[in-house]
Amino acid sequence: MGVLGGAWEWLADGANWSGEAGVWHRLGEHAYVSGLALLIACAVALPVGLWLGHLGRGGTLAVNVSNAGRAVPVFAVLALFMVSPLRSAGYVPTVTALVLFAVPPLLTNAYVGMRGVDRSVVEAARGMGMSGGQVFRQVELPLARPLVMTGLRSAAVQVVATATIAAMVGQGGLGRIITAGFTTYDTPQVVAGALLVALLALAVEGVLVAADRLLGPVRRRP
C-alpha cells in the first residue's frame, strides 16, 4: 500500500500539476499526440481496409501489414526519426511513429469486418438491383461496423499506451513523468505516471464506446 499511497500523495500535490514538466502540460501533449496520430491513422487505414474488403482483394496484404507492424519496435522507429532531420520538427516524429503503429489494427479489422459480412446478404442486395456503392454504404458498412469499432478501440488504447515510449528519446507526453521518476528512484512518481496513462486510455475507450452508441444506428426493439 505504501507505493500506491505515495502515488496518491504525488498526484494530490498541486505543485506536480503545474509548469512545463507538470501533469497538465504532459497530459495535454499526450492527448494531442495520440489524438492526432489516431485521426491520421483512421484517415489512411479505414478507406483502404474498407475498400479492399468490399472488393474482396488484397487479404494477404491486410493481414501481413498487421504482422509486419508487430515486428517493428516503436522505440527503434522513434530513434530513427530522432537522428534524422525530423528531430527538430516538434511532435512530428512521435505522431508519425504512432500513426505507423495504429494503421495495422485499423486496416486489418476494417478488412476482416467487411469480409465477415454474410455473402448471401450481399448477393440479395445485388439481386435487388443495388449498385456497388449502395451495397457498400447500406449493407456492408453497417454490418461491418462492430468489428471496425473494435479495431478503432484497440488501436486507440494501444496508441495511448505506446505514446509513453516517446519519453525514451526525449519527446513529450506522460512518459516523461515515468522516466523522470525512474531516474530519481521515485517509485511513487512512476506509479502515478503509469496510473495517469491507464486513466487516459480508459477515458479514450469510454469516449469511443459512448460515441459508438450515440452515432450508431438506433436499435429497434425485438
Binding site: N67, A71, L80, T164, M168, V191
Partner: protein
Amino acid sequence: MAARNCLVANDWVCWEYVRSRSQELTDATVQHVWITVLSVLIGLAVALPLALLARRGPRWAAPVLGLTTLLYTVPSLAMFSLLLPLFGLSASLVVTGLVLYSLTILVRNVLAGLEGVPEDVREAARGLGYGPARLLWQVELPLALPALLAGVRIATVSTVALTTVGSIVGKGGLGNLIAPAVSSSFKAQVLTASVLCVLLALVADLLLLGLQRLLTPWTRAAAAKGA
C-alpha cells in the same frame, strides 16, 4: 586513411561501423535472443496452467482473461519502471515484464486451442480409458498445437520488438545500442541495430513457421484436400 570515412561523415549505412563494432553487435544480438527465448518459454510455462484454470468455467475464465488483458494495457515503459524496486537493474526485470506481456496472447491462444478440441474426440479418448492427464498430453494438447503455435509466433515477434524498451535498465539487447546512439546522433548505429531487430523478428517468425509445419503436418494435408 580512407579518403572518405563513413563514421566521420555519420552516414546512415556504414559497413565500416558494422566491421569495427561486430563484437558489440553480436553481443547485443545474443542478449536480445536469449532474453526473448527465455521470456516466451517462461510465458508458455505460465500460460498453460492459466489456460487450464480458465477452462474450468466462466467463473475462472473471466478473472484470468481480464487480468492478462489488463497487463497488456500497462505501458512497457511503466511496466519496466514499476518492476525496478523488485528486481533492480537486471535482466530478470526485463524477462519478467516480457513474460507478463506474452501471457495476454499465449493464454488466449492456448485456451482457444483447447476449446477447439471436438467433444466426441474427448469422449472417444475417455472411452479408451484415458485419464485426465493422459487425455491432456496425448489428445488435447496435440490437437491444440496449431492455435498454440500461432500464439507463440505472435508472442515471439512482439517480444523481440518489446525487448528494445529494456534498454531503460540497460538490458535491452539491441535497444542498448539504440538508446545511446540517439543522444549522440549516431545514425549508422541506430539504423543497423533497428534493422537487426526487425530481421531477428522475421527469422524467429520463419523458424516458428517451420516448426509449426513440422509438428502439425495434418493441417497442411487438410488444407490441400479442402482446396
